[in-house]
């Protein structure tokens, strides 16, 4: 656009009112006029709130609540699984089955010493007869004489989790030196827990994807609804020379406000729920209900990481909503523009 070619006379000439308007101005009243020169803070081009906007805010709040709840639950299960995993993988067990001619006490000591020769082991404890009897007490009762029964005996070896020993080498050495010995590194349990934790995380991610998809679709419908409800505004903006990016920016601002309010409400509700559950658990320690809940879900604490995750979810929801609204508006305005400008697609109702 060539700015230089545009008439500049209007502005300077405006200082003189047209003759027709001279009489229309009340004379005097300078004080009143000075007061009226003040203008209110500029209102947004899109009206700030309506029923649709409030409904969308509630939907976004519910979606944010569900997303944060899912995120919190996943992080809780992961934390519980990882604590179980850590407890189990901190120890390995050497089991020695009784056999004819086997000196059990000597075999136990030998097994412990062999295990402790490996780098990554910390200490070995032989479970003495009384401890073994206590382990079996629930099934075999008290007053048990282990010499009468072919009960395997155990050596518990604690290991360095960060630098675990060579389990295969230890197993082979024990098999060679004490054929009755069997090394259990709890790998089966650990693998099961890891796979359970992974499955839980995958399910959680699936739920999150579903929640986000539903939210994006809701925002698309809401944006299209808002566009159609504010079509007169879009038309006026078109006639005053607004580009589609400007119109999209206005809708984007509108939806950003709605989504920030909605996601903040949903996220805060989810955080409050976790905090309340945590308080309930802390206040009802050693009660059957609390023990049952702890056994199933572990601790309801989601920690600072969990709360940061909830905050991040809120931000992601606000960004997703805003971007969805922007792209939907740009696309819809392009469609409107195409239809408006193409007489083959216009119905001609606006013509006279």
């Amino acid at each position: 656009m060539n700015e230089l070619s545009r008439p500049k006379a209007t502005k300077s000439a405006r200082s003189q009112k047209p003759a027709s308007e001279q009489q229309a101005q009340p004379s005097g009243q300078k004080q009143t006029r000075r007061v009226e020169m003040r203008v209110r803070p500029t209102a947004p081009i899109l009206p700030p709130s309506n029923i649709q906007g409030n409904a969308l805010m509630v939907v976004i709040a519910i979606m944010a609540f569900l997303a944060c709840l899912t995120l919190g639950a996943v992080s809780m299960v992961r934390a519980t699984a990882s604590s179980w995993q850590s407890q189990i993988s901190r120890e390995i067990t050497i089991q020695i089955k009784p056999d004819d001619g086997l000196d059990m006490d000597a075999a136990l000591k030998k097994a412990r010493d062999l295990a402790l020769t490996f780098v990554g082991t910390r200490e070995g404890t032989i479970m003495d007869e009384s401890a073994t009897a206590r382990l079996l007490e629930p099934w075999l009762g008290t007053g048990l004489n282990l010499a009468d029964l072919p009960v395997p005996r155990l050596v518990i070896v604690t290991i360095d989790e960060q630098n675990p020993p060579d389990f295969a080498g230890m197993r082979d050495l024990l098999k060679t030196e004490i054929p009755q010995a069997f090394l259990d590194d709890h790998r089966t349990w650990v693998d099961r827990l890891v796979s359970m934790a992974h499955t839980t995380v995958l399910i959680g991610m699936g739920v999150l994807v579903l929640v986000f998809t539903a939210m994006i679709l809701t925002v698309i419908f809401a944006t299209r609804g808002a566009l159609s409800g504010n079509r007169h505004i879009v038309e006026v903006l078109h006639f005053v020379g607004a580009e589609s990016t400007f119109v999209a920016g206005e809708f984007q601002k509108h939806f950003l406000k709605i989504s920030i309010k909605g996601s903040a409400a949903g996220g805060a509700l989810a955080a409050a729920m976790f905090a309340l559950a945590n308080m309930w658990q802390a206040n009802s320690l050693a009660t059957p209900e609390s023990d049952q809940a702890s056994a199933l879900f572990g601790s309801f604490t989601i920690g600072m990481g969990g709360y940061l995750g909830i905050f991040a979810t809120m931000i992601v929801i606000a960004l997703l909503t805003t971007l969805t609204a922007r792209f939907t508006v740009m696309r819809t305005i392009d469609e409107i523009d195409l239809i408006r400008s193409d007489p083959a697609r216009s119905d001609g109702l606006s013509a006279s």
Partner: protein, 219 residues
């Protein structure tokens, strides 16, 4: 400034609403566009505003062939044209000041940079006392003047007015006409679509008469 050559337009598969339009709108010119209801005045204004593409023919706007201009560039070109509607099309939730400032706002200008210009223009059209008023409490004449002020805000090279006096009484129509004449005197080309013969008789200006899709021009 604007040149139409053999322009024709039909909606869908219907008959041609406008046929063989060939005319110029020179700079600083003043003209009435008239004809019976349904003759295609609004359609022709939409073509002039680049809001509608012709079915055939060539339109040159400000020296450029409209068919060669990419769609994203059209808003920039539209900013050189001001348009006023019979139904005003003011936004009900914005004050007179905000409605009139809208063209500058969509151009991304800071409010402080145009506040005085908007107030000055509002005074010029006689709305200096109605700056902070919502359109709902403005009279028909005031709304029309606010719509005209909005169209003039960014100093367009041409002003298109669709039945600007359709909703006002004869004295107000006369005042609005004087406003358009004043504007034209300051250098803006003006096209007023109207079927108000009394209004046209008040000014010795070019008349473009649309009848059954054909245009006759009386200089």
């Amino acid at each position: 400034m604007i040149h139409f050559e053999n322009v024709g337009l039909r909606y869908g598969m219907g008959p041609e609403i406008l046929r063989d339009m060939t005319f110029d709108i020179p700079k600083r010119s003043f003209q009435f566009l008239t004809g019976p209801s349904g003759a295609g005045k609004t359609t022709l204004l939409r073509l002039l505003f680049m809001s509608l593409h012709p079915t055939r023919g060539i339109i040159h706007m400000f020296g450029r062939d409209l068919s060669q201009i990419p769609r994203p560039e059209l808003p920039m070109l539209r900013r050189r044209v001001g348009i006023v509607f019979q139904d005003f099309r003011l936004l009900d939730h914005l004050t007179t000041y905000e409605n009139v400032a809208l063209p500058l706002r969509v151009r991304g200008k800071e409010e402080s940079s145009y506040r005085n210009d908007v107030i000055e223009l509002l005074k010029w059209v006689g709305l200096g006392e109605r700056i902070n008023v919502l359109p709902a409490v403005l009279s028909g004449g005031e709304k029309q003047r606010a719509a005209i002020a909005r169209a003039l805000m960014d100093q367009p090279e041409i002003l298109l007015a669709d039945e600007p006096t359709g909703n006002v009484d004869p004295p107000m129509a006369r005042r609005l006409l004087n406003l358009f004449l004043e504007l034209n005197r300051l250098g803006t080309a003006v096209v007023i679509a109207t079927h108000d013969l009394a209004l046209m008789d008040q000014v010795d200006a070019r008349r473009m008469i649309l009848t059954e899709g054909r245009l006759d021009i009386y200089e």
